[in-house]
Subunit: 208 residues, 2 copies
């Protein structure tokens, strides 16, 4: 399971663009997409509005760049988790653990990306929804494979997949660093609960 | 299990106040608390800003009234669910069903109430947090009682309580009427998954 919090969200963006994206993320998280102005974002980035427009022509374009980065990073976390595990139980445990921990570590990013989906332009929203569907498919495929191999037992694989994704995403709503929970403690906890949902008890889950 | 969608959210508020609360809820859901102005809300309610101020002195006061109504209604739904059931399995099934269905039915209200908590004044936030803790206690008490009676088996009652609340609340993020899911289908689905988490399989859950 990957525990690094330093994965690079912004890809090949240069230093100026990164400063703007970070400022936009902070502003959207604090005041919502509609409550944050490009002027606020420029001020927070220590730039003029025209310097911001040189990188991102509209506020929506900033939200799109943030949404794309967030969804790609969450999908990559899931794919990395699976790459290191072989058994059905080990793979699902790693997947739930890392998906949950990702949403705790990136709680501010995840909130913006999830809650402001309605503010994206239609073509941008479609692209983000394709990434979401890909993540959903990865989760469902693991559950279905585990049922086929006899490792899991459930009459509702779609429901379990929905619960895995929903539990992970919702961590970003209430998680605060320095509290009772950590990304790793939440990841372990939800992995154990999901394996129980799949009829795999704690002992066999540990052994698997 | 209660399936009525007509429970009265606004209590003893008069017709003018109701119209303002409904308009504020719609505006907060569409543009976020910071993105919606009192002027927008007055226009949506078909009133002058001064008429709105006569009922609610500030925008924060509107959010507080909406948050109080939402949290009271969700807690009442949970308490009504329990009032009709006797067995541990029956009670938990009804609780999860009705809490989940409440968040589907009142998805717009639940989103505002959950996502804008940070915008409340400290004393208002404290009052809302007390209502949340009361709801959390009701859920945890049911799980602990079911473990004590031998109906449930889990090493992590706090984790299951957290999952019950989180799965319910998160429905409000993605639920849309007219789609694949209904409040009742989601309620049934999550109740079955939670009972599986508690080591109660589908057949005994139905019989219980």
């Amino acid at each position: 399971m990957t525990t690094s919090a330093t994965d690079d969200l912004w890809g090949e963006a240069g230093p100026g663009s990164r400063r703007i994206l970070e400022a936009a993320l902070t502003a959207f998280a604090a005041r919502g997409y509609h409550g944050a102005s490009t002027r606020d974002i420029a001020a927070a980035a220590g730039m003029s509005p025209s310097a911001v427009y040189a990188h991102h022509r509209t506020k929506e374009d900033l939200l799109y760049a943030i949404s794309l980065a967030g969804h790609r990073s969450a999908l990559a976390a899931v794919e990395r988790a699976l790459a290191e595990e072989v058994t059905a139980v080990g793979r699902l445990r790693a997947l739930v653990h890392d998906y949950t921990a990702w949403h705790a570590r990136h709680h501010q990013l995840a909130r913006v990306v999830q809650y402001e989906l309605g503010a994206l332009a239609p073509d941008h929203r479609d692209e983000i929804l394709r990434l979401r569907r890909r993540t959903e498919e990865v989760v469902l495929d693991e559950i279905v494979a585990g049922i086929a191999s006899g490792a899991f037992r459930t009459e509702d694989p779609d429901g379990v997949a929905l619960a895995v994704l929903s539990l992970g995403v919702d961590v970003s709503r209430w998680y605060a660093p320095g509290g009772h929970h950590t990304p790793v403690s939440l990841g372990r906890r939800y992995a154990t609960l999901v394996l129980a949902m799949l009829g795999t008890d704690h002992r066999s889950a540990t052994a698997g």
